[in-house]
């Protein structure tokens, strides 16, 4: 009789503890993904890169692609440049956000970098001298929308 009671009590407690442990682990995974999943960290990378490129760009002009699918800005290669002689172009292709950098006159591509993947939507807009990037990242289980605005400020 004592053994049966002990077994019953132990089973109930073990089951309860098991539920708590599983639920805790599940919550932990959700929380961890919300902070460290690829769409979140890629969002930070995309935003930082976008800000950095826009801030060093010339305020003279920038070009928005059709329907805001891309944006091209111009900047100075170094201190000796008297006119903007480099370009940087953000665009999306096959679910990737890419940055194409190169020189002007003659126009030559120097590098094409993939900033992030899992891009489900990306739109660029103009508000005065600032450029907005509305980027949506989706890895199938989690979505992250990044809204960034940066002023092109070099003269």
């Amino acid at each position: 009789m004592e053994l049966v009671i002990t077994a019953a009590i132990t089973s109930i407690v073990a089951l309860a503890i098991g539920v708590v442990i599983v639920d805790g682990q599940s919550s932990w995974n959700v929380m961890y993904d919300r902070v460290n999943s690829d769409v979140i960290t890629d969002g930070y990378v995309a935003r930082t890169k976008f800000d950095a490129v826009m801030r060093k760009a010339s305020r003279e002009k920038f070009l928005l692609g059709s329907s805001g699918g891309s944006v091209e800005v111009y900047y100075y290669a170094d201190d000796s440049s008297t006119v903007p002689d480099r370009y940087a172009r953000f665009y999306t292709t096959d679910g990737d956000l890419n940055l194409d950098c190169g020189q002007l006159n003659p126009r030559t591509t120097l590098s094409v970098d993939t900033i992030c993947g899992n891009v489900s939507a990306c739109t660029f807009k103009q508000v005065g001298r600032s450029v907005q990037m509305i980027l949506t990242l989706d890895n199938g289980t989690q979505t992250n929308m990044v809204v960034s605005s940066a002023v092109t400020q070099n003269q």
């Binding site: 132990t10 805790g24 919300r34 005065g128 450029v131 809204v147």
Partner: protein
């Protein structure tokens, strides 16, 4: 036969008290782990909200600076479709010598349930130079009954722009 029964009777097994003591020790360990995870999740949520606040402040400032700090700037028109911005009757206090532009409630998609309140204000420092101030506040312990009663954290950002 008698010697076998005698051997069985001499063995010591687990008693009910021993089992219960083991269960209690296990419970203490589980509760300790749960506590650690609870505070980790809560701190992560707080950090998330603070990061979001700084992002909102910077986005508003840069967007406003893009039109040279125009006093007719309306974040609902410029960012409302993307950031879910609505006009708010309440918001964090602006600096005393700044002119109020407006207060807004902002919700980011990935910060579930956390609403940020932003107050935009401006001040002409000298002819052609304007200071733009954005204060973003949020409720760390949850929004409360009226949405703003628990607002206890804020992030402030001031930038300067040419008005010419």
């Amino acid at each position: 036969m008698d010697s076998t029964v005698s051997k069985i009777r001499c063995r010591r097994g687990m008693t009910l008290v021993g089992t219960m003591v083991a269960v209690v020790i296990l419970l203490i360990a589980v509760i300790g782990t749960s506590s650690f995870r609870y505070y980790s999740a809560m701190d992560t949520r707080r950090a998330d909200a603070q990061t979001a606040a700084s992002r909102i402040a910077l986005t508003l400032c840069e967007s406003w600076r893009g039109i040279n700090g125009d006093v007719t700037y309306n974040p609902i028109t410029n960012l409302g479709t993307n950031l879910a911005i609505t006009q708010s009757t309440t918001g964090p206090a602006k600096p005393s010598d700044f002119t109020l532009l407006g207060s807004y409630a902002i919700e980011l998609d990935e910060i579930h349930g956390v609403i940020h309140y932003a107050t935009l204000s401006w001040k002409d420092v000298q002819p052609g130079l304007r200071a733009l101030n954005v204060v973003v506040a949020w409720a760390q312990r949850g929004p409360g009954a009226d949405g703003t009663e628990n607002v206890d954290k804020s992030f402030r950002l001031t930038i300067y722009t040419s008005t010419i």
